[in-house]
């Protein structure tokens, strides 16, 4: 379901969406802001979308750098679609769009009425991932293995794999026994995906798969890089196309029913 309007498009980019009341014009809660022409102090009344990190800022006065030319008045309540800017004793955010509370999109209105800002954001992220996914399946991981090419490489080369960068993803393959396909090519019994087994900062957040894991997989076709392991060209970068699930939300295991259900509902609503 593509974003229906410009408002939604912007809302999609904003991570911190809240209802707030303008307290002071051309002012800021963060001393380092020299040019205050576009900044106002806003009291956060109600948070609609937020990462855990920012979910505690209800009731705080923060600085908002307004977007566009639209004027605001002290005491006026708006919904602000923002991303982060400065974090000191107080915080400053950059508004991508602010709109009168009455004018918000239905989706947002819904979010406003239903509970938890963090869950709201999670649901939104899941939706994004679902829409951009090439294949979404329910199933179970039956096998996790070294990609066959690297294995054969080890056969030939006497010395074992030698990653050349501390950021080497250490690709593994996970074979999923497909129970049902929710998006994409409908008639596959098994799907193989690649995932980074590396604990390196670049990869640790990507889901790590184990045989026996049950759940919903949102897979994207990606061109992934790997260091060649053949003795001769060891270290060189090769590109392979494979299904991947890099975002933490791309796999929703049944062992965490709450999150899984969120996705299930999403799938049913979209299907």
């Amino acid at each position: 379901m593509p974003a229906s309007s410009k408002a939604d498009a912007l809302a999609q980019q904003a991570r911190f969406v809240f209802k707030g009341t303008v307290q002071k014009l051309r002012a800021s809660t963060v001393p380092d802001i020299k040019d205050k022409s576009g900044t106002v102090i806003v009291r956060v009344d109600e948070i609609i979308h937020a990462p855990e990190e920012l979910s505690y800022f209800s009731g705080h006065d923060i600085t908002v750098q307004l977007s566009g030319r639209k004027k605001v008045k002290v005491g006026e309540q708006n919904v602000f679609h923002t991303n982060s800017w400065l974090f000191g004793d107080s915080i400053a955010v950059v508004s991508l769009r602010q709109e009168a509370v009455g004018k918000v999109s239905a989706a947002l209105d819904m979010a406003m009425t239903t509970g938890d800002p963090v869950k709201n954001l999670l649901a939104r992220d899941m939706k994004e991932r679902f829409e951009s996914a090439d294949l979404v399946v329910s199933g179970r991981v039956t096998s996790v293995r070294l990609p066959t090419d690297t294995v054969s490489a080890v056969d030939s080369a006497s010395e074992p794999l030698t990653p050349s960068s501390e950021h080497d993803p250490m690709w593994h393959e996970a074979v999923i026994d497909v129970a049902s396909v929710h998006k994409g090519d409908g008639d596959q019994k098994t799907v193989t995906l690649r995932f980074p087994s590396s604990e390196d900062v670049m990869w640790h957040r990507a889901p790590k798969f184990k045989p026996g894991q049950d759940g919903i997989f949102m897979l994207q076709k990606s061109k992934i890089k790997e260091h060649a392991s053949a003795a001769d060209s060891a270290g060189a970068i090769e590109t392979v196309e494979a299904y991947t699930a890099f975002s933490p939300v791309d796999f929703q295991p049944h062992s965490h029913p709450e999150e899984a259900d969120t996705l299930v509902n999403l799938i049913t609503s979209l299907g």
């Binding site: 996790v144 129970a179 184990k210 045989p211 759940g215 299930v264």
Partner: protein
């Protein structure tokens, strides 16, 4: 078939071996120890083999329940082969045997290395000797054993019908198979390039310490043939029990037992980059004249 405890006591291995001097007869180092004529207080002079818990007891007085029949006197120095008994403010151990300090034992004593190390090494040695197959290589795949890798029904979206699989206990091992690509065979015979072993993915206390394998791991694998109950497709009432294994000793009757390699002891896998341990054993083995 009730087993007599005495019998069980015999097949014990000493866990704490030390040279000590008898300090007091018919007494103990703490209250709560039932003292009889075989209960003595001993000063630990030198620890020969010890678990980490007792590494620090050099020079200390502990209580020993003597094993053998021989008479002992205050001031006598002996080597005590003991196992645990009571732990309170002090410790009391049960001596399985005591021996005078002879040349043989002197040799044991002269060796400088750390008693904890020595014990660990002996444990590795035991596992090596008990192993049916010892290989070095690399884990290339980890998978569900055939038969359990069934479709997770539309279960995902509307969990309903009870899936096949044996009875459930919190001790279920959650068997997995690890495929090892063999570099070298160090003990036993194995022709194929690959060998498959079973390991428990369970986090349950019953399986704590059993190595959990993942692709890419490289090192030495000490494999033991074990009886595992074969998970079969569900057939009405007659249903297999998944995940039951007993290392040879206790043979378990009935349904679908298969043999599989396992590596259930902490020491059964040793990464290449870990010094000593199995490496040392393998080197010493290779020195031995073959045949």
């Amino acid at each position: 078939m009730p087993a007599s405890p005495s019998k069980t006591a015999q097949d014990q291995k000493p866990a704490f071996v030390f040279k000590g001097t008898i300090k007091r007869l018919k007494s103990a180092t703490m209250k709560g120890v039932p003292v009889d004529e075989r209960t003595v207080v001993v000063t630990v002079n030198q620890i020969i083999e010890a678990p980490p818990a007792l590494a620090d007891y050099n020079g200390q007085d502990i209580t020993v329940q003597l094993g053998g029949r021989q008479k002992v006197r205050v001031g006598q120095e002996l080597i005590f082969h003991t196992t645990s008994w009571i732990f309170g403010d002090s410790i009391a151990v049960r001596s399985l045997t005591e021996e005078p300090v002879t040349y043989r034992s002197a040799a044991m004593l002269s060796a400088a290395d750390d008693p904890v190390e020595r014990r660990a090494q002996r444990e590795k040695r035991d596992r090596f000797d008990a192993a049916d197959l010892v290989v070095s290589g690399k884990v290339v795949a980890v998978r569900l054993p055939a038969g359990t890798a069934k479709r997770s029904g539309a279960a995902s979206l509307d969990a309903s019908d009870r899936a096949p699989g044996g009875p459930v206990s919190e001790h279920d091992p959650k068997w997995r198979e690890a495929v090892i690509q063999v570099d070298e065979v160090h003990k036993g015979s194995h022709k194929k390039k690959q060998v498959v072993l079973r390991f428990p993915a369970s986090k349950d206390v019953m399986w704590y310490g059993a190595p959990k394998f993942h692709p890419g791991q490289q090192g030495f694998f000490m494999l033991h043939k074990s009886k595992i109950e074969k998970p079969k497709a569900k057939r009405g009432r007659k249903q297999p029990r998944k995940g039951v294994v007993e290392e040879a000793a206790v043979a378990d009757s009935e349904v679908g037992i298969t043999e599989a390699y396992t590596a259930l002891d902490q020491t059964d896998f040793q990464p290449y980059n870990e010094p000593g341990g199995v490496k040392t054993i393998i080197d010493s083995e290779s020195l031995k004249p073959k045949g």
